[in-house]
Amino acid sequence: MEKRYYQKEIETMPVEDIKKLQSEKLVKQVKHVYENVPYYKKLMDEKGVTPDDIKGIEDLHKLPFLSKADLRDAYPYGLLAKPLNECVRIHSTSGTTGRRVVAFYTQHDVDLWEDCCARAIVAAGGSNEDVLQVAYGYGLFTGGAGLHGGGHKVGCLTLPMSSGNTERQIQFMMDLNSTILCCTPSYAAYMGESLKEQGYTPDTIPLKAGIFGAEAWTNEMRHQIEETLGIKAYDIYGLTETSGPGVAFECEEQTGMHINEDHFLAEIIDPETGEVLPEGSKGELVFTALDKEAFPLLRYRTRDICVLSREKCSCGRTLIKMAKPMGRSDDMLIIRGVNVFPSQIETVLLNEGYQPNYQIVIDRVNNNDTFDVLVEMNPENFTDTVSGVTKQEKALANAMKVMLGINPNVKLVAPKSIARSEGKAVRVVDKRKLYD
């Protein structure tokens, strides 16, 4: 009989007990943050809240929010709550210069994060009989490290492939009989296509499950991946700010992700007013890290729009479920797994001597994101040769790559050809179908 839970006592704990546990942890955590993070203490003081006002999770709404802007203001050490010599790890959000976020971990923090990932792996049917192929990027990105650590905890034979090099991925998968694949859904789909092209049918592929996250994907895409690879595809959610993947994970029911509530307290708020919405409402997801030591964000606004549900789950887990995110409450785009803000494109254009008139066009072709940036040509730089124009396009693309960490396809267009708004300019045309 295969083990169904990694930490049964937590995962199936009666809801009242989880809430009690959360309350105890929250009281302690607020005190820890107030005493060790001057940045957040100031926010609390400004709001007139002291740790004594927080007696349990019912008082959570009294605390101030944190947003990505705070993380930027406080970069790099402003939200650190432990001395550096007690920290053992740093991770960072994907390559964005202007808006980089660095997160710190003590050994305790790494352990609880890996526990969360281990729960996800077990929920996907993983055990020490499995070969776990981790094809998330390793490095500053949390994807690789998180699932890798989780794989060790479960006792999986862990294959630290990192992302890319599809030929090698396939060779290892087939030769070493990988049974669980962890990567972004678009890469899973791409690998599926490559396997198919090489003549592999679902019954000849050793995989039985996949744990896919770090970008939005639809159920339609899930079915496609499941069919091509002959697996069950599980969603996983997380963000560097809270630790990484594993904040929430899917069980065999595949109807939303169980939030690891003993570590992360979730709320849904109205993104306009900040007001907490009742359970079942659609709004912005906010997380409070309950027992992280080094980088314990309280009421961090994820900007993901989502719904929480505490309906009984057939898997036996009592942990609250979050739906697949349904959109964003800011203008951040996730392109090929990388966070992109339109304002970053604007910054590059101004630096490079262009007018900030641009349009970002994103599409998903063969399950891969295309990323075009239309920019109005600077009339002074117009030349009569094609190479003169393409040279400018390449230079701009390079400058954007340095800023964003991914390569756009820059297309110069005629001046004034991008619609100036009578109202608001259309800066982003996203043709992808990301949300159900």
């Binding site: 040509m377 009339p379 117009f382 030349t383 009569d384 040769t385 094609v386 190479s387 124009v389 393409t390 297309k411 110069l412 267009v413 005629a414 001046p415 004034k416 050809s417």
Partner: protein, 143 residues
């Protein structure tokens, strides 16, 4: 001594060339020669016209990105091997060429070649030394 070429940025959109040529026609501008270099996303239209000023104003007013470029115009006989001879002259003089296009005149039995080279003066001198005649804007109207 030089020949002016009008260079126009054309987006790959349906009807773009119709619109440009119509604008020129409406302003009584005569085309002498035309070439277009295109990529998947845009084209660069190069024109030799009889009235640069009118053409530039009309197209700018219509919102086109337009630029005047100095090019070299060479008159060559309408016989096999003449173009090759002219290019050989430039090659020997080590003058790099970006592009060229050719046109015929209505009146004379001559072909004309428009050359875009790295250095116009050097190219013109080399070609003249080899016995070629250059054409200028003043000649264009008579062709």
């Amino acid at each position: 001594m030089s020949l002016k070429q009008l260079t126009i940025f054309v987006e790959n959109k349906k009807g773009a060339l119709v619109d440009i040529t119509k604008t020129l026609a409406d302003n009584n501008v005569n085309l002498r020669a035309l070439s277009i270099a295109d990529t998947q996303d845009f084209g660069i239209l190069r024109l030799i016209v009889n009235d640069n000023e009118t053409a530039t104003k009309a197209l700018s007013d219509a919102g086109y990105l337009i630029k005047m470029t100095d090019v070299v115009g060479v008159k060559i006989g309408d016989q096999p091997g003449k173009l090759s001879k002219a290019l050989e002259v430039l090659d020997k003089a080590d003058i790099n060429m970006e592009y060229l296009y050719a046109f015929m005149a209505r009146t004379e039995k001559h072909a004309y070649v428009v050359l875009r080279v790295a250095n116009n003066d050097e190219a013109e001198k080399a070609l003249e030394d080899a016995g070629f005649h250059m054409i200028t804007d003043a000649d264009v109207d008579k062709l």
